[in-house]
Amino acid sequence: MNPILSVSNLTFSYDGDSPALKGISFDVEEGSYVAIIGHNGSGKSTLAKLLLGLMNGFKGTIRVFGTELSRKTLYQIRSRVGIVFQNPDNQFVGSTVADDIAFGLENRKVPHDQMQGIIEKFADDAGMRAFLDHAPENLSGGQKQRVAIAGVLAMHPDIVILDEATAMLDPKGKREIRDLIAKMKQENPKLTILSITHDIEEAANSDKVVVLDSGNLILQGTPDEVFSHVDALNAARLGIPFVIALKHELASRGIEVPSSIKTLEQMEDYLCQ
């Protein structure tokens, strides 16, 4: 299977000497959910900006569906990759929810008579249909992020990058976004999600985890593989997901939990046996 996104030997530096990313290579399979974790300043957000072609002057290659990212292919690649940023306010362009979802469509030159239908459909999917005429200042952070996701999905991307999309939200907002992402994955299993996050629990439920530390890619693999490297993770100032930590503690007491047990619910059933 060909990877939908392939990063190889990516190096980037803001000021010329100390690189923010040092020779990063990883592949992302179509339809997978990949979590990129690392502490602040590890190079996660730099990576996101590079994938969208927001900064020039990197070494190495970024390929989306086999097309190499360059100045020429920039708009072609951006049409396949959507991104949701951290700050809900700073990505709300329109003066109302409808206008904001329309913004991307206008850029794509979608004809006027098709817009209303598209806007209503995607607002509906994001649970924001009732808020089409609302101005951003009257929405919660979680609602604004739902609008941002609707705006991205309305452009039918193949890859959605979530750049700490829930970091500034309260627990309710976080849950709303988590549920929305789960729903959109369910409706479109071919959608690839690249989530840049601090949330170790989110990473535990992904298909693949990529760990960055000071610009280096130190670990990549399934959550079980990655989170077995406790020392490396501690060195990278990262924690261990709860269920995996529980498994480790059980293992230290001589109980090997089968690898099929991944979620808290499965763990509860196992412990009750």
């Binding site: 969208l52 940023f85 003066s95 329309a102 913004f103 951003p136």
Partner: protein, 305 residues
Amino acid sequence: MKNFALGRYIPYNSFIHKLDPRVKILGIVLLMVCVFLNFTHPVVNDAGETVKATYWTMTAIMQGSVFVLSILLLWISHMSFRSVLASLRSLWFTLIFLLVIYILVPTQTVMQLGLAWRVEAWNWSVYWDSFADAGKIMLRLMNMLMLTMVLTGTTKPLDLTYALEWYMAPLKVLHFPAAEVAMTISIALRFIPTLLEDSMRIMKAQSSRGVDFAHGNILKRITGVTSLIIPLFVSSFLRSEELANAMECRGYDPRAKRTRYRLLKFGWRDIFGFIIPAALLGLYIWWSVDSSVFTQFVLSGVVLP
């Protein structure tokens, strides 16, 4: 800040709200011209004598009609008069200021309303015309404010921007970036509440650090304002940078042609929005040009000689 009605959109579904913003802008501009038209006709009757008070009566009729019309427009558009009054309240100071200026430096060369009182000791006369002058300017200011309120209160900022872009369209021939200017304005409007919120937050934070924005000497106040302005700039820059990234990622290219979600439509009601102000302006210009009108007014007793 919250009860400041000027420039705030009041969502409602009135006749005026439904007008095409392009027509609204044109209509309001025409009415503004009416407000600024000055009655300059020589006030002389057939016998060659100066007709007293005609100037003031005509001015009162002209400004007064716009005033009545503005109130009518505000009423049709369901604007709350209380908020209008709140915006006008700050004009009291202006009124007193104008009055003092006009009393000290009368603008009229020929006083028509007569002497109000005379201070013999200083050899100084105060004419009623000074009061009328101040009143005229006040009426004009109020008319302008109310007309602006009708426009901004009934038109979404974004629609206003689109209308302005439409008017700027001919300038595209001269490579004027009308669409980009309109986008810039609409984003600025979108971020006003966000920046207001930012400034409230920073003010609270600095107050907690002992800044007193309301009291203290000039130096302390300058430090206080600096402690507000600099963080506000920093956060605005950060916001604009992130916004630019977000817009770029969503495919915005300022040079490329875009389609439109909101289209402006000219409907049957828009004819009124144009006809009424245009007719009023036409009437005023006619009055100013054709002197026979005054004779008619004088004869019918509207303008008392």
